[in-house]
């Protein structure tokens, strides 16, 4: 009997979810950045507006930046009307996204607790709950006993450094499998005829007066009728090429997972004061994130003392985690604005739409911002949900100041 060829018995490779095409020399719309926002924009351009001559250019591999590095938390309990509107729009889309994409995304609405540890926290939290209710966002204020009912492993005793004095609770908040979300969008874009071009870094732009005529890339020049920037932490690198400024600072943001554990954590817990947010992924890892590293950085890595402090906070809140082992840490690059709100909409170039500044919280907005950017490109007018986040708000002074206001752990 002759020896069998190694691997001969292996199953066929599953079908690819998208082609890996050579870029054409021209597109109606070129989207720079193949992360969640870029993919969602291309999807809704095709689905809502029938615009399919679209390329998504990605300098690395598809959805390998912040889309692969976030902690997957989805919620809409933001303080200000402008923020609540776009995040709630996104949350409603999340609720139907699996059907829309025809692809499993493991969206699990397990609720989010935002803990209050001081009288000031309590006041701000109650205020935010009332604001949320007025905006049609599900929210309630609950005391320590109810916190324990929602999440029994939170330490609600009074003898800890930062006792839990209550929490805001948004039951419709949840988590999703971020990779599946990206793949689901990518598959739909490919089916609609859009090109997903990986390993294609934008190195410059061609312009004519107040119009961008195309992009220069590592895979050749590509002409474009409209260009959308969805480059998150690298946005400043692109706007420097275009000669206008956006008030962004790029910071490393780290997250980590534990080893796989039995289901112990039924919800999402965030705490601004001690600075940690935790959920348990479907497979069983505890997924945790903290605040940004203080300095500007493009290195997709941060300092270990940030992780150390984050773990101290986590163990204080969840004594049961004390013996869990850290499996993996990583970093992404987040683009932070002065008011902790995104910048989206018009630029000095008539056919260039910008989308950036989502800082530490862009994942949750993915379908919402994609929807609004597609609408903005198709109609040539900022969608009402992105209009408040225009670049010129830093000149007019109409900031959407979510720093500390939005249950945001920036």
């Amino acid at each position: 009997m002759s020896p069998r060829t190694p691997g001969a018995d292996l199953p066929e490779h599953p079908d690819f979810l998208w082609r890996n095409p050579e870029p054409k020399r021209s597109y109606d719309v070129v989207i720079v950045g193949g992360g969640g926002h870029g993919l969602a924009t291309a999807h809704y351009l095709a689905k809502n507006h029938g615009i399919t001559d679209v390329a998504v250019l990605e300098k690395g591999w598809l959805a390998g930046g912040n889309m692969a590095r976030n902690t997957t938390i989805i919620r809409s309990n933001y303080l200000w009307d402008e923020s609540a509107a776009i995040y709630e729009h996104a949350l409603k889309l999340w609720e139907g996204l699996e059907d829309d994409l025809g692809y499993p995304i493991l969206f699990s609405q397990r609720g989010v607790l935002n803990l209050a540890h001081s009288l000031q926290d309590v006041r701000e939290s109650v205020r935010r709950v009332e604001a949320n209710k007025l905006n049609g966002v599900d929210a309630e204020w609950i005391g320590p006993d109810e916190v324990r009912k929602v999440c029994p492993i939170v330490n609600t005793s009074t003898d800890i450094r930062y006792p839990v004095m209550g929490a805001t609770y948004q039951p419709r908040a949840g988590i999703a499998k971020h990779d599946y979300v990206a793949w689901g969008f990518a598959r739909r874009i490919d089916q609609a005829g859009g090109d997903l071009v990986q390993d294609c870094e934008v190195t410059g732009f061609t312009t004519d007066g107040d119009r961008v005529t195309g992009v220069r890339t590592t895979r050749g020049d590509i002409a474009a009728g409209h260009v959308v920037l969805c480059a998150a932490g690298h946005t400043s690198v692109l706007t420097d090429m275009l000669g206008f400024r956006v008030p962004l600072q790029s910071h490393p943001l780290q997250a980590l997972v534990s080893e796989l554990l039995e289901p112990v954590h039924p919800t999402i817990v965030m705490s601004n004061a001690v600075h940690v947010y935790v959920s348990q992924a479907h497979k069983g890892e505890l997924v945790m994130g903290a605040g940004v590293d203080s300095y500007n950085g493009y290195g997709q890595r941060g300092a270990f003392h940030i992780i150390e402090r984050q773990m101290a906070a986590a163990v204080e809140l969840f004594p049961v985690f004390a013996r869990a082992h850290l499996l993996r840490t990583w970093g992404g690059i987040v683009d932070v604005t002065p008011d902790a709100s995104p910048v989206a909409g018009r630029t000095p170039y008539a056919n260039l739409t910008i989308n950036c500044g989502w800082g530490t919280g862009g994942f949750k907005a993915t379908p919402g911002i994609g929807w609004c950017l597609a609408d903005t490109v198709a109609k040539g007018e900022p969608h009402p949900y992105v209009a408040p986040f225009a670049l010129d708000r830093f000149v007019t002074g109409a900031l959407v100041d979510e720093h500390g206001a939005a249950a945001v752990a920036h």
């Binding site: 690198v237 962004l248 600072q249 203080s294 300095y295 500007n296 950085g297 002074g397």
Partner: protein, 90 residues
């Protein structure tokens, strides 16, 4: 944790320092003469390069003095540090 060279104290651990953002942003000579746009650029807009960046740092848990640094934001390497009264170029 990386060591940062304080121009007064020498190399110390990163946790002793506080980041101060872009260096050499001067207060406008005549603030009242600025347009809203110019004022916005002074208040809100800072450079955000990938690569060499002139920054301010404070040795907040040490001598508490401010100093300037040129650091690479892609590698996080400090190229040089200098006191505010020293020239930014070697």
């Amino acid at each position: 944790m990386q060591l940062i060279e304080c121009p007064w104290c020498g190399p110390r651990e990163e946790v002793e320092f506080h980041y101060g953002g872009q260096a050499h942003v001067a207060y406008p000579d005549d603030p009242a003469a600025l347009t809203d746009e110019q004022w916005a650029h002074y208040v809100f807009f800072r450079d955000n390069p990938k690569g060499r960046f002139a920054e301010r740092w404070s040795h907040s848990a040490g001598c508490r003095r401010w100093f300037n640094a040129v650091r690479d934001t892609a590698t996080y390497r400090f190229e040089r540090v200098h006191r505010p009264d020293e020239s930014p170029t070697p």
